[in-house]
């Protein structure tokens, strides 16, 4: 055996040792920054694997299309078969228009891409906010990852709420910057204005900033030996109060003006919303419950380690949003943003404490050009791995089914479009939005996911129908419903009743299309022609045809 051929590094030829990358013309990146980039790329890719959800996304796009086509905001529900005439709350009109624009420009892939970009942007801003709070850059990646994990139960659904999360991250960035910088005062009004028109969660931004103001007030009082007058004129408090005022002022620029805020506050009082899972209280056994509990345990551990003092505003933020999440699952969206912002600096401090105690050396983090190159490589890889960016880049759209979740009634909607169905229809609530979307609003749903716009009695009738109550057909006729769409998987009883009624030969209902998942039923069929009046001199016999059961041909 010969000895391995080795050469000392300093004896390597110059062509191998030469570093062409390191140059004043090429940026250098630290390991911490590289980690942050990799985290953001991972968030982008993972989010992009989510398909378009079948719930209220299509309803929002319906509104977006209506607004663009009419160049106005609808005063009342423009889609429902029997609208309640309740005024529409225009808290998300801008995101509806943006969503519609993205769909028109880039198709459904554009929506998936927008979703991934929005989540990545929110994570990026949150990471920046954490760094601005004094945590090392490498801990920013932890904040981004924590946000993504806590968001898991809801991050898969593209909806205006994502803009709200972005707004929350921006307000938290402002809170992190305000002690030392004034620039948030310049852009906070814009954030407030956009947020109030993008999603009704602007109250969350005000709550975050409100907690911050209280915390700063307490700091000012403490630092000024609880002298009230002196504390009021404390520049930190003045700045925080001004920021809150500017955000509020910005939020008042919306179609409803300042009245938007009380209307949002009482939005959740519609009785039908209690049937929507995201409006229901959190249960410990759900994923949301587990994530909240785990994050609370982590909070308790870091509190016990006590490496960094908990400020009042931090405690207020944690308490407020933990209680809010307990009351309704959908509030997890804000917990997912607030918790990493509050806790990451404490985690960084705890790590620092542990490192000092055990005398662990701080790893060297010299910026290097090769890290920049790796970061570019990561972004490139993310772009070609993520399905929407790959599809748009190569010009190969995946099609409707691979982009949408399985529950989306793609095939039934296509048949409804092919048959050119128009008029009132009843469908499972989560199907209805998509059917309105694909029929260009020609089909009018009895109930769709914007149930806060419906009458409570209509919603009760909807439940009767899809439970398969005895009065299902009568109820449908009462509402002048022409078509019924039934999910065979979820409305098994109703599907059986429809099939039995259709077979009865009484012409009460007619199944006009069905597949393994569902059926389209004409609830008010015209009698099949038994005469030759429509056949125009036909030698084919309509009478014979009308009595022939299809199943026996």
């Amino acid at each position: 055996m010969s000895a391995p051929f080795t050469v000392p590094a300093d004896q390597l030829p110059d062509c191998l040792r030469r570093d062409y990358l390191t140059s004043p013309y090429f940026p250098r990146t630290s390991r911490g920054m590289l980690t942050a980039v990799i985290t953001l790329c991972a968030i982008f890719v993972l989010t992009s694997f989510n398909r378009l959800n079948h719930t209220d996304l299509w309803g929002h796009l319906d509104f977006g299309r209506w607004i663009v086509q009419h160049a106005a905001l609808p005063a009342h529900d423009p889609f429902a078969a029997n609208p309640a005439q309740a005024p529409v709350l225009h808290a998300a009109w801008l995101s509806q228009v943006i969503g519609y624009g993205a769909q028109q420009a880039l198709g459904n892939e554009g929506l998936v891409l927008g979703h991934a970009l929005l989540v990545t942007l929110a994570a990026g801003i949150l990471m920046l906010a954490v760094v601005r709070r004094g945590a090392a850059v490498r801990f920013a990646a932890v904040a981004g990852a924590a946000m993504f994990l806590l968001d898991l139960p809801i991050v898969g659904t593209i909806r205006p709420q994502l803009f709200g999360q972005l707004g929350a991250a921006l307000v938290l960035l402002a809170c992190a910057e305000l002690p030392t910088k004034r620039h948030p005062l310049a852009w906070l009004p814009l954030v407030g204005m956009l947020w109030a028109n993008l999603h009704g969660s602007i109250l969350m931004g005000l709550a975050i900033l409100g907690c911050y103001v209280l915390g700063v007030a307490q700091q000012a009082l403490r630092d000024n030996a609880y002298a009230l007058r002196k504390s009021i004129f404390d520049p930190r408090l003045s700045r925080a109060l001004l920021a809150l005022f500017l955000l509020l002022a910005g939020a008042c620029v919306n179609p409803h003006g300042p009245l938007l805020l009380p209307r949002i506050l009482f939005f959740g009082e519609h009785a039908a919303l209690s049937y929507i899972s995201e409006w229901q209280p959190l249960t410990p056994k759900s994923l949301t419950g587990v994530l909240l509990i785990v994050s609370l345990i982590a909070t308790a551990c870091l509190w016990k380690i006590g490496a960094r003092r908990f400020e009042l505003y931090e405690v207020l933020l944690l308490a407020l949003f933990a209680l809010a999440t307990l009351s309704a699952i959908r509030m997890l969206a804000w917990w997912a943003v607030v918790w990493p912002w509050v806790m990451t600096p404490h985690l960084a401090a705890a790590w620092e404490k542990l490192r000092n105690e055990r005398s662990i050396a701080e790893p060297a983090d010299e910026p290097a050009a090769i890290h920049t190159l790796i970061a570019i490589g990561c972004v490139f890889a993310a772009a070609i791995i993520a399905p929407p960016s790959y599809s748009l880049m190569t010009g190969r759209e995946r099609g409707e089914v691979p982009v949408t979740v399985r529950e989306t009634p793609v095939h039934l909607a296509d048949q409804a479009r092919r048959l050119n169905l128009a008029g009132n229809f009843a469908a499972p609530m989560d199907w209805a939005d998509y059917l309105v979307w694909t029929s260009q609003g020609q089909l009018k749903p009895l109930i769709y996911s914007h149930i806060h716009l419906s009458r409570p009695e209509t919603f009760e009738d909807y439940r009767k129908i899809f439970r398969g109550d005895e009065v299902w057909l009568h109820t449908l006729r009462n509402h002048q419903v022409q078509y019924l769409l039934v999910s065979k998987e979820r409305n098994g009883k109703l599907a059986s009743l429809v099939a039995a009624e259709s077979r009865s030969g009484l012409s009460h209902v007619r199944i006009i299309y069905q597949d393994r998942r569902g059926m389209i039923v004409d609830v008010n069929p015209q009698a099949v022609s038994g005469t030759t009046s429509g056949a125009g001199g036909s030698v084919l016999d309509t009478k014979a045809a009308s009595v022939k059961p299809k199943s026996e041909t």
Partner: protein, 425 residues
């Protein structure tokens, strides 16, 4: 300043260049999956795999065929599809009141002929939709159901069975197209989980074998394995005509693959197993008289007594099930065939019943009965037109009488008794 600009611009510039290069290299390198490839112009023919002379005599067959000529009145699209399938596009009956083969074929290819038969007010059978050339389905317009396509892609499958090539012109109302457009449109519209898919699969197999995986208009990938799964994964009797067209589709696919092997071994094995299981069940569930009825898949011998469910089966049901079974068995590969006695008993029962059946009843259910007549022709190994012509010549020579017909019936009864006796021995 230049350094700062360079530091800002270089990373995104490198990224954009890399993405552009990737698009150039991979974006155009491989063709998209949704481009359908049709390797042949002519559909694959599938003839009977076996012959069994004893199912009926030549005279009996001719008499049966005489009864299932295309109906003179009460004609529907469904009648024409079935009649074309049975008689073929070359059929000529020498009687202007009976629709000829070329007219039946042109009814499905040319809107002018369609309008002559269906009436000018009838909506066209074909139209150009957003997914290519499409057919007006049974449920599209209740008023014109009789001139519609009764089952999804039954027209396309019938054109394939009739040997109509893919480049045959399709005269639409206000436009021109080709049968190939109808096929590609159908392949684009096809998805797994449809209520009716049997005729689609028959058409795809006959026109597009070997099937290369494709993406439909919804972006779903469809391959031959998924199609076979669709045919074999359901309860045996689920689907139109008691699920029996699924067996026909399997037999057709299998036989075409025998002519040009392309199916993966496991798929072929799966098809063979499914057909063999069905065939075994048929042996077990055949009635003493030779027929099957719905419930054939339950593995129970059908003994006529007042308590069994079988006793409730109508004659129509028995004819439908027995006719369809004999038809797919005639096309099925030899290795899945039941014993010949099973075929002979079923064939003779079918012959006897078709001859005895009231004309009105026969007209009402022309479709299923045409399947039965086709089954007999396949087992006899004769073309229906040829068999019927022979009979016509004989009829011209000798005057037909009721007694003659009774004799044919009696002959059938004697034959079946002989078979039963030989079995019991």
């Amino acid at each position: 300043m230049l350094q700062r600009i360079s530091r800002l611009v270089l990373p995104p510039a490198i990224l954009i260049a890399a993405l552009a290069a990737y698009r150039l290299i991979f974006g155009f390198a491989s063709p998209p999956m949704d481009s359908l490839r049709l390797p042949r112009r002519e559909p694959w023919p599938v003839t009977a795999s076996s012959r069994e002379e004893r199912v009926c005599t030549g005279d009996q067959l001719a008499a049966v065929l005489e009864r299932v000529k295309p109906p003179r009145d009460g004609l529907t699209s469904n009648h024409l599809v079935h009649a074309l399938r049975l008689w073929g596009p070359g059929a000529e009956f020498g009687d202007p009141s009976v629709t000829s083969g070329p007219v039946m074929r042109d009814y499905l290819l040319d809107d002018r002929v369609f309008q002559q038969l269906a009436g000018e007010k009838s909506p066209p059978l074909f139209y150009r939709g957003d997914g290519g050339v499409d057919l007006r389905s049974y449920d599209d317009a209740a008023e014109f159901q009789h001139t519609s396509s009764y089952h999804t892609d039954d027209v396309l499958a019938t054109l394939a069975e009739s040997g109509v090539p893919l480049d045959a012109p399709l005269h639409l109302r206000g436009g021109q197209s080709r049968v190939a457009d109808l096929l590609t449109g159908s392949m684009q519209r096809f998805y797994l989980g449809r209520h009716e898919y049997e005729w689609s699969i028959i058409a795809f197999a006959r026109y597009a074998h070997p099937l290369v995986p494709w993406r439909n208009k919804y972006g779903e990938k469809i391959d031959v394995e998924a199609l076979v799964k669709e045919l074999t994964d359901k309860p045996a009797e689920l689907g139109p005509c008691g699920g029996l067209h699924r067996l026909e589709a399997l037999a057709v696919m299998y036989r075409i693959d025998q002519q040009s092997p392309a199916l993966p071994l496991r798929v072929r094995q799966r098809m063979r197993t499914y057909m063999k299981q069905a065939s075994d069940r048929l042996v077990r569930s055949q009635s003493v008289d030779g027929y099957w009825s719905s419930g054939w898949s339950k593995n129970q011998p059908q003994v006529e007594n007042s308590k069994s469910k079988f006793a409730e089966s109508t004659l129509h049901d028995k004819l439908l099930v027995t006719g369809h079974h004999l038809e797919w068995l005639a096309l099925a590969p030899a290795e899945v065939q039941p014993p010949r006695e099973t075929i002979v008993r079923a064939g003779q029962w079918l012959t006897r019943t078709l001859l005895e059946l009231d004309a009105g009843q026969l007209h009402k259910a022309y479709g299923p009965y045409s399947h039965a007549a086709r089954a007999l022709c396949l087992w006899k190994g004769v073309e229906p037109m040829e068999a019927w012509r022979k009979r016509s010549k004989v009829r011209e020579q000798t005057s037909e009488s009721r007694g003659q017909r009774r004799e044919v019936r009696n002959q059938g009864t004697r034959n079946s008794r002989q078979i039963c006796n030989s079995q019991s021995e």
